[in-house]
């Protein structure tokens, strides 16, 4: 049983290696954060590794909130260098960073991401207003000045001009950043059209505006957007909510639903006329500058024209680039390592 003995020794050595690993520094960049920013960071990481021949950065998709948790955990090789976010950092997260000694963070706005509402090419044309989307998806709506549980089951019950098909909408679950953005950009704005809801105050108003219906027509389809795409192909009357890049990749089978009369495209998202879009950020830990090899090169690659500029490889992946002057400002911030100040909330 020499084998078992040797194996035991090797196992002990491994355990020893674990405790030793803490002290060791690393030679590759580590990035965490939003699953929406993930594909873009992936693209920069691959380009960076292939063109410089440096160690391939490790990119992990943890979600925006989870990313800040790890990112703000501290300074040093055990903690990631960059985190991606599909919303700006919150005050609570900024304070968490500060308590753990991460006091110099640069906020980098990399561009915009459109949220698309889409359905099968075979389905009827749909053009909705935010108010109509709110009426279709909220748990409580206003009917004749009263706030009642959502009675609408068919699109044409909301407005006679809409098709006479059942409301079936696949959307992201509450844990998803896409869901937060959808609620903020569509539902909350949609409910402004209703005077009885506007008249409500405080928590009750938030509840009516933000709560999605649970009685069937809105279906939480999980975090996997590909799954929603497949379901839309199977059910031609169903509508799905997901990131614009999925619509862009599947434009042969899906078509967009116009929101307030505007269809999503690179142009309409960039100029702001398609109103369902959100900013994407990466946050840089300045303390790791010059400590983690390649950190600065990587960040410079991220904010280069070839990457996040117009026609750059990130826009090929679906990112909506910033206007040219804003890109200049962002680049200057990155090179200067300008630390962000505490966010308002």
């Amino acid at each position: 049983m020499k084998l078992a003995l040797h194996a035991g020794v090797a196992a002990l050595a491994l355990v020893a290696a674990v405790s030793g690993a803490q002290a060791q520094t690393r030679d590759q960049i580590r990035i965490v954060g939003s699953s929406t920013v993930f594909p873009y960071t992936q693209a920069v990481a691959e380009q960076f590794a292939a063109s410089t021949g440096g160690a391939a950065p490790v990119v992990e998709s943890t979600g925006t909130g989870g990313g800040f948790q790890v990112f703000c955990g501290g300074v040093g090789a055990d903690h990631p260098d960059i985190t991606g976010a599909s919303r700006a950092m919150r005050l609570s997260e900024f304070e968490l960073c500060a308590t753990n000694g991460v006091d110099s963070v640069t906020e980098v706005l990399i561009g915009y991401d459109g949220l698309s509402i889409a359905h099968s090419q075979q389905g009827p044309e749909l053009n909705l207003t935010k108010a109509q989307i709110f009426q279709a998806l909220a748990s409580e709506v206003e009917v004749n000045g009263e706030i009642v549980a959502n009675p609408y089951k068919m699109w044409n019950e909301i407005d006679a001009s809409l098709p006479a098909t059942a409301i079936t909408v696949f959307g992201p679950p509450p844990t998803s950043g896409t869901r937060d953005a959808f609620v903020e950009l569509v539902m909350i704005e949609g409910c402004e059209a209703f005077p009885a809801i506007e008249a409500l105050e405080g928590d009750r108003k938030d509840e009516v505006c933000e709560r999605m219906r649970q009685d069937g027509p809105f279906i939480e389809a999980g975090e996997n957007d590909n799954l929603i795409v497949q379901r839309l192909n199977a059910d031609t009357n169903a509508v799905g909510i997901f990131g614009y890049s999925f619509l862009f990749e599947n434009s042969d089978t899906l078509k967009a639903v116009g929101v307030d009369g505007v269809l999503p495209s690179f142009e309409t998202i960039a100029d702001g006329s398609y109103a369902v879009s959100r900013p994407l950020y990466i946050y840089l830990k300045n303390a790791h500058k010059g400590v983690i090899p390649g950190f600065e090169d990587f960040v410079n690659e991220y904010v280069s024209e070839a990457s996040f500029g117009e026609g750059g490889y990130l826009s090929e992946r679906g990112l909506i680039p910033l206007p040219a002057d804003q890109r200049e400002t962002v680049r200057a911030n990155v090179t200067g390592g300008v630390a962000m100040t505490a966010p308002a909330k």
């Binding site: 003995l5 194996a7 035991g8 699953s35 594909p39 292939a50 992990e60 042969d252």
Partner: protein, 433 residues
């Protein structure tokens, strides 16, 4: 059943003489037999049918990923484009465009050049660069290479992207299709076996993405997992089976081990995150941390199967050895353990197969990272086969749909192989007493 008399079975005997009631009863019993058989057969057919449907979906979706469309091009390496003294400063994109222009004879506008270069993979520039780096004497002449076609054109070549879809609704424009057809007519388009699927690491481009990182990662994971769980598992099983006194404490341990075997695997992931990574500082996303977590998960399986194998050794062997004057330690190490080894190995391999297919705990410790190079050791960040499937299933690009299924096929292949070894060991080496 024959008509012979069965004495002593009350009702049957009493009713037997030419009674119609007996005939009816017999008929009912035969019918019940048939119904049971039919129900059993239906259940099996349903199970086989569902399994078949699952396999058919995976295989039919995954098969296209085992070939990859390539375009063979002659890339001009004129001295003005490539400076042999400073290969790093070369604009390799221009070299790639040069190769496409050489084949199609186009002198197009920059916008058209961009469309043209989208036909082949974005990483063609690095493929050409590496080829020239390996053989710098080529500068001044040209180099012929088969480079992967970009994902939409791979789909076009395989009939997944349809030409009759209106131009606005597909990822390839009419002009690009015309260029691609021209390349095809020149015999430059081939679709060989996709070795890249096994020898490339992950990439964001489906045409370049492969499983090398995931396979190496899974190998290191299993190595760590085996090195820890095998000795620890066997030692605990030997102690519990051969040495431990039978009392309340050992009963408690036994119940707990059996319970651990039924624990949802995500719990081990949470434990690994909290203990190994946050307290002991094991590196995130590394096979070391993953292997530690998986070894905890596999331990109960190994302990239980080892104990079963030890129990199956007849007491006569132990008694004979003890009778010959062997010490307890000699009995276990020289007689019982070697005889129990086939059973132990079978249990271990099944445990390892379980570890190979495990995803949930690995997601928690960050083994679903995107890394474009295979890990060089157990401390490097990497993915494993199941987490790679998880990442690909979530990617927007079309090509990843078939690659996800192909990766599932590879994983299933490894699992079948490991289970086949376990079956072989069991049938070849196991002794019956």
């Amino acid at each position: 059943m024959t008509e012979s008399t069965i004495p002593g079975t009350g009702a049957a005997v009493a009713a037997r003489p030419s009674s119609q009631a007996a005939a009816a009863l017999r008929k009912r019993r035969y019918a019940a037999d048939t119904r049971l058989r039919v129900a059993g057969l239906t259940a099996i057919l349903a199970a086989v049918g569902m399994l078949g449907l699952l396999l058919w979906t995976i295989v039919s979706q995954g098969l296209p990923a085992f070939t990859q469309t390539h375009v063979r091009l002659d890339f001009p390496l004129s001295a003005e484009l490539v400076d042999p003294a400073d290969l790093e400063a070369t604009n390799w994109r221009a070299v790639v465009t040069g190769g496409l222009n050489a084949a199609l004879g186009e002198t197009a506008s920059p916008a058209q050049q961009r469309l043209l270069s989208q036909i082949i993979t974005n990483n063609a520039q690095f493929i050409v660069r590496d080829a020239v780096r390996a053989n710098p004497s080529l500068v001044g002449s040209s180099i012929t290479l088969s480079v992967p076609a970009a994902d939409p054109f791979d789909g076009l070549n395989k009939g997944q992207v349809l030409r009759d879809v209106p131009e606005a609704n597909r990822r390839v424009s009419d002009a690009q299709i015309a260029w691609f057809d021209q390349l095809s007519a020149q015999g430059r388009v081939t679709a060989p076996f996709n070795w890249g699927l096994f020898f490339n690491a992950d990439s964001r481009f489906p045409e370049m993405a492969g499983l090398a990182g995931a396979i190496t990662g899974s190998f290191y994971l299993l190595l760590v997992c085996f090195l820890i769980s095998f000795p620890v598992g066997i030692a605990s099983a030997i102690y519990l089976e051969e040495f431990a006194p039978k009392n309340r404490w050992t009963d408690l341990i036994e119940v707990n081990i059996n319970n651990l075997a039924a624990m949802p695997s995500i719990v081990y992931g949470l434990l690994g995150l909290a203990v190994f990574i946050q307290i002991f500082g094991a590196p995130r996303s590394a096979p070391l941390s993953g292997g530690l977590v998986l070894s905890l998960m596999v331990l109960p399986t190994i302990i239980i199967s080892t104990r079963a194998a030890l129990k199956a050794i007849p007491p006569s062997i132990r008694e004979a050895a003890l009778g010959m004057g062997a010490s307890k330690h000699q009995v276990v190490m020289q007689h019982v353990l070697p005889l129990a080894m086939p059973g132990i190995l079978t249990g271990t391999i099944i445990g390892m197969a379980q570890a190979l297919g495990e995803t949930a705990p690995l997601l928690l410790i960050g083994m679903n990272a995107f890394v474009t190079s295979p890990p060089g050791g157990i401390l490097d960040a990497s993915t494993s086969l199941p987490t790679q499937i998880f990442i690909w299933a979530d990617s927007p690009e079309r090509g990843f749909v078939s690659r996800t299924s192909a990766a599932i096929m590879v994983l299933l292949g490894f699992l079948l192989f490991m289970n086949a070894i376990a079956i072989y060991l069991r049938s070849k080496l196991e002794r019956r007493w």
